[in-house]
Symmetry: C2
Subunit: 292 residues, 2 copies
């Protein structure tokens, strides 16, 4: 457990300090959009996606340093999606992790542009990462296909279309698989690309990430009902209020907890063939027993 | 002139039919966003940027076919920027080329996502284009840096900040250089990358594109005052109404016309070293004597 925390902190540190460098812009006529980009990236959460990039790279025998820029690019994509998700025409959220969301702080037009600029900058960052051209192209293909209409954006569309409606478990799974799952699977795959992993390694880590994503979502749904507002940093009960279909509305809290546990076990099972998989095992268990 | 039109039509045809293929999606749960992407790309204008990619590639001795996907990716970026520009929190335009703009047709949330998806798809398209990995990486670096905070998005910020204010000629030039100029210069550079052009060729074509962009903008400003609404497909006088600083407000119509002519001559002068530069010479002259 101490090893886990140490490794987690070192990944966190690497990603945050590189993001800090990448988002240090010189003053300019258009500084407000740079400030907004920086504001939202710095208001970071658990950095699960970049952590998963780095650890997937390491566990496949790659050099973590070569994966740091790739991890940062993925986090930029995640952050842009949160900025646009919070906009009035989408979820209309005034708060993000306890701080004013980007459009509340900078205005809607600059939040829109900051999201666009972050999305664009993610690909600029990948094009300049410290890996071979071949790996860059594969990383860009992986990130773009998972972030676009057939991935994350597609999931957002299903989410929008499901608003206020009861949806089936299949639709819920498809939505999660795209809206949050696509970038989490992508994280594992990006790490594999950086490391030059084998197809079997990539398959196993993608499966791990896939179950991890579902489990993460189930826990989110549970915490929205039984969580502690102060620890979570956001009000509970918002899902019920908006009439969202969740693991809890479909199965109740206890069954949802059981499903989350099963999904976590499946995630862990997927990586049984890796030696030194302790970090990923602990990560899965930590994420699904978390209180926030 | 007939040669010019023939070539222009063949470029137009190549780009449109490839865009059509690239945007043919299978039916899905998230089809509405694909439909919105397609709607906006199909409501195409002059396709100046892709045409410039193809001709820059040809004039540097490259194979045009290898540049078609790159040209389409650039047009996707241009189209996403129009979709987001038309949104209520930006220019709030209900019409785009005489048709309902994307958010009027599909709703604000889907227009936002269609823009995001097109921006993302542009990079996916580049990552799969029929050129070497080395060229793909250079094309992605070129497109992302010109489309992002230091290019087109930066120009949009200056435009927003200038709203309803009189700005200096220097600021106007900087705004044009970024907001529209960056993608036009990028078009020339992308063609050069596909062709494996020399540094001198790239420099000359970038200069051409740079002047062409300014001239194009000056003509736009003039047409907004003296144009024919029916031919233009949009109301005239909108610049004056919104208190925008333009070439006309700064210099008056006659002087603005003279500046447009000078900029066109400079564009043409930049490519004097190319044999067979007739197409680009005619393109510059056509764009600046256009009535729409």
């Amino acid at each position: 457990m101490n090893d886990y925390k140490q490794t987690l902190n070192s990944y966190f540190e690497k990603v945050n300090s590189r993001l800090d460098e990448l988002l240090k812009f010189s003053p300019s006529e258009f500084g407000v959009v740079c400030e907004a980009m920086r504001y939202s990236v710095e208001n970071g959460g658990k950095r699960i996606r970049p952590v998963l990039v780095l650890e997937s790279c390491r566990i496949c025998g790659g050099d973590i340093e070569s994966a740091v820029d790739v991890a940062c690019a993925l986090e930029m994509i995640h952050t842009y999606s949160l900025i646009h998700d919070d906009l009035p025409c989408m979820d209309n959220d005034d708060l993000r992790r306890g701080k004013p969301s980007c459009h509340v702080k900078f205005g809607e037009e600059y939040a829109l542009l900051a999201g666009d600029a972050l999305l664009t900058y993610a690909f600029e960052t990948l094009s300049k990462a410290n890996i071979s051209d071949d790996k860059k192209v594969r990383a860009i293909a992986c990130l773009s296909s998972n972030a676009g209409f057939g991935g994350m954006v597609g999931g957002q569309v299903i989410d929008l279309k499901s608003e206020g409606k009861e949806i089936s478990y299949d639709t819920l799974r498809l939505m999660h698989s795209l809206k949050t799952g696509a970038l989490i699977r992508c994280a594992a795959q990006l790490g594999c690309i950086c490391a030059g992993a084998s197809d079997e390694q990539t398959k196993a880590l993608t499966e791990y990430a896939n179950y991890l994503g579902y489990a993460f979502q189930a826990v989110d749904d549970i915490l929205d009902v039984v969580g502690n507002q102060d620890i979570l940093g956001k009000p509970i009960g918002s899902d019920a209020e908006s009439g969202k279909t969740t693991y809890v509305t479909l199965f109740g809290v206890e069954k949802a907890k059981q499903i989350a546990k099963e999904l976590t076990d499946k995630a862990v099972g997927s990586i049984s063939s890796f030696e030194n998989n302790r970090f990923l095992v602990t990560l899965a268990n930590e994420l699904t027993t978390r209180k926030y």
